[in-house]
Subunit: 181 residues, 2 copies
DNA sequence: TGTAGCATGTAAGCCGTTACATGATTGA
DNA sequence: TCAATCATGTAACGGCTTACATGCTACA
């Protein structure tokens, strides 16, 4: 069963692939991983979608979920299967990736600056710069936690990529504010 | 009628706002504008969605469409109304913008590099660099066409922002390729 | 003892895409 | 005359979000 999945499915499957032979992740935990890493260069899917995707991936045999009963509660931990790992490899090898899509509300609004005033636009950019620094700090934490071990070589590269992006973005925001002053 | 519209609606309304008192745009033309400018920092909506949004905006009174009959064919040109301009100003002034979302399939795949090999990852980045240059050239054309006139001051800033982004992105891609070599 | 966080789902609905349908106009 | 481009829509459907629903567990 090959099946064409949406990219988000592969993204989540990819997160599970990093767990190796560990006990696996609950849907809740997977959502946390997505929030802390995936969100920087893909999306942070809603909780409900995480469960939907887990159901789909399990039906395809790409992951297995085993129930852990503890007195009164049952939680389910998912692990990637060999078939899932193959599917992920196939996806990586075939089909070339689309060009990135940037949804940039600040740039969009700046484009319409003639309907507002420079002060408002500058204030918007200032606010954006603050948010940018918060985001950067969060990503820096991720980067630090990855360290320099071989196992996390690729995620580390992606994190560095993101940090570089935030740095140059901040620099450009400053230039734009100067242009508005 | 205030109504909360999706950002894409405002984006298209914003494009119409640039037409000033000209004859207006057909849905087809609006789609072309979106493809050549909006796509760099928002999205390029499908043709069908452009018509859907046009219908919505017209129902709200934010735009008016007048029919041009020419022998056998009727085309409709839309112009922004005063009410539409007010709605756009209101949207710009209130409600602060969300943080940008980047959907970056190349970064996503690089994250899973341990499932492929460095050669494949490097090839992917090379391909991406080529695409990046094509995009950059397209945006440069837009930038050039905007010139340095006051009327296009803001779109010009946004275009410069985009060019800066593509430049730093290319630089980073080269660094990553070196790291993989 | 109460509240924040852990944990799992279903339902309704919006945004946006692809596929489908149709036809006019322009220029090689 | 034929193909590309202009031009306008509708239908089906997928992806994803928000809202709804439910209950456990740890800890202050």
């Amino acid at each position: 069963m090959s099946q064409d999945l949406a990219t988000t499915s592969y993204a989540l499957l990819g997160l599970l692939a990093f767990e190796g032979d560990r006990a696996g992740l609950t849907g809740y935990e997977l959502k946390q991983r997505a929030d802390s890493t995936l969100r920087f260069y893909w999306v942070a899917p809603a909780m409900s979608q995480v469960y939907t995707e887990l159901g789909r991936l399990a039906r395809l045999g790409f992951i297995t979920g085993d129930d852990r009963r503890s007195a009164r509660r049952t939680t389910r931990r998912y692990r990637i299967t060999d078939s899932g790992r193959r599917a992920l490899r196939r996806w990586l090898a075939t089909g070339q990736p689309e060009f990135p899509v940037l949804k940039h509300p600040i740039a969009l609004r700046l484009m319409m600056g003639h309907l507002a005033d420079d002060d408002a636009m500058r204030a918007m950019l200032e606010e954006y710069e603050r948010d940018l620094l918060v985001r950067r700090a969060e990503l820096q934490e991720v980067r630090t936690s990855l360290g320099d071990v071989a196992a996390y070589r690729y995620p580390a590269m992606v994190a560095d990529w993101g940090l570089h992006y935030y740095d140059t973005e901040q620099q450009m925001v400053r230039e734009l504010m100067a242009r508005l002053a």
